[in-house]
Symmetry: none
Subunit: 258 residues, 2 copies
DNA sequence: AAGTTTTGATTGATTTTGATTGTTTGGCAA
DNA sequence: TTGCCAAACAATCAAAATCAATCAAAACTT
């Protein structure tokens, strides 16, 4: 492995960390190397699993799925990132927290993986574990089980018992639907059981939900509004539903910006 | 050791502390020495473990290897990849297997992640899970627990009970040391317990060990040679130790090539 | 001064790179 | 949808850069 290669590799990694997507042309410009060389670099990095090549460039691999389709992901991501940022502000040094396997919680894992603060994190999400692992100061407990591909998380009946043993400060839960009338709903019965358990053992329960989840009801109801201490959502959420939720006693935090 | 050498060595160290990576050409410029001399300096510093040489220069040894994949790592990887490839050939469609968290098993996970065959894989390794996850035709069970950073795997006492429930066709175990006299040894007591359990519940136990593990004894003995059905190693392994192991009744598979 | 270590130059081999080739891809207009 | 075109691609090859090995000159040691 040559030193020029290493320099470019580092540059490519950095570019991908920031952007999630790079073009061959941009890398040619930034490195001064030829397209052939850049392609060879990308090919090599693809073999190591760090990225996935696309027509014209490459996207990050270490956050699977979602970023293979960057356009779709990008639209929601700003709102979710803002929610995750806001949630991060609730954390205190030394907290023991639960992160579920939704995309918003994953975004939060990404941020936590980049802070220099110390937490203990319990999760059943594979991508979250990948993000968190990079931060040396975190203690991480992964709930194991069979991999579920839709969510890239793990479940087995035994994890409920395992989780039950913990006492958590804060649980951060993504959801599929939330209304004042129907409460929390999700589409997956096993996820519901994990989240119910997490709610039971947590002092504080925080629900993370972008605008699309507010006022929506899906298949499986779980938990109760009363157990939720706080909802974090963005300003795009339906204000009438929000005021209904507020009247039902829910504390609501709105993220900054549009 | 000459005074010129000391001066250059010092300069190289400082350059590496700043940059993580230096080129031979740059060092020639900065020292006025010839390329041959600089190369000799780098060679010497590589032996002391301070740096790893690369084509055209060197990188620091102690930086997180995320940063780069120095030549040394790659060289081992070739041997390990060959062992992993050979191990893959033992698999039959539909097998249920265990992979431990060693680097060789991880290489195997990488390969399995790229086959189009169908297996059920049980592991406690985070990188292995990441590799396997991409292959849609695999069923994956991850043994959870607290993340252990040295190996990037998970352990909690409960996983032993969890693992005990399975019946496996084949277990693939990396090890730290193997001799006819002392049997299997490892450096980690928790890993040893997981591997012992995996051996107990598997019909076939395959040990993956590159040359450096053969004839070596480390801290903690576990399992017995009798439980091992097969050892896969490379042709660089000490032939005398291999014949001793063969006489002890172990079946040995050598990988192709040097 | 003789012996040892360090150095620089030279050689052929190896690795990396860039240019060229013909092929494939994805968008776009009909 | 179909067919077209420009851009991106993989494959190949030759040039450039770097390598290890060798040897002799230079610099140190005793």
């Amino acid at each position: 492995m040559g030193i020029g290669q290493l320099r470019r590799t580092d540059l490519i990694r950095r570019a991908l960390e920031e952007e999630n997507l790079v073009s061959v042309a941009a890398l040619v410009r930034r490195t001064g190397a030829s397209t052939a060389t850049i392609r060879r670099d990308l090919e090599r990095l693809e073999k190591t699993g760090f990225l996935v090549r696309t027509y014209g460039g490459a996207v990050r691999q270490d956050i699977p799925d979602e970023f293979l389709f960057p356009r779709k992901a990008e639209r929601n991501r700003a709102a979710k990132a803002a929610i995750a940022r806001r949630a991060l502000a609730l954390l205190k040094e030394g907290d023991t927290i639960f992160l579920d396997s939704g995309t918003t919680a994953r975004e939060m894992a990404r941020l936590i993986g980049r802070t220099d603060r110390t937490f203990t994190v319990v999760t059943n999400s594979l991508p979250a574990a990948g993000e968190l692992q990079r931060n040396q100061s975190l203690k991480i407990f992964l709930l194991g089980g069979f991999l579920r591909r839709e969510l890239l998380d793990f479940f087995s009946p035994a994890v409920l018992a395992e989780l039950e043993k913990f006492h958590l400060n804060k649980a951060f839960l993504g959801i599929d639907g939330l209304t004042a009338a129907d409460g929390l709903t999700t589409t997956d019965v096993d996820s519901a059981r994990i989240e119910e358990t997490a709610m039971r053992i947590s002092q504080v329960v925080v629900v993370l939900a972008d605008r699309s989840k507010i006022g929506r009801t899906t298949l499986i109801p779980y938990g109760t509004l009363k157990k939720i201490d706080c909802l974090i959502t963005d300003r795009g959420a339906d204000p009438r539903e929000l005021s209904r939720l507020r009247r039902a006693g829910l504390k609501i935090i709105l993220t900054e910006g549009k």
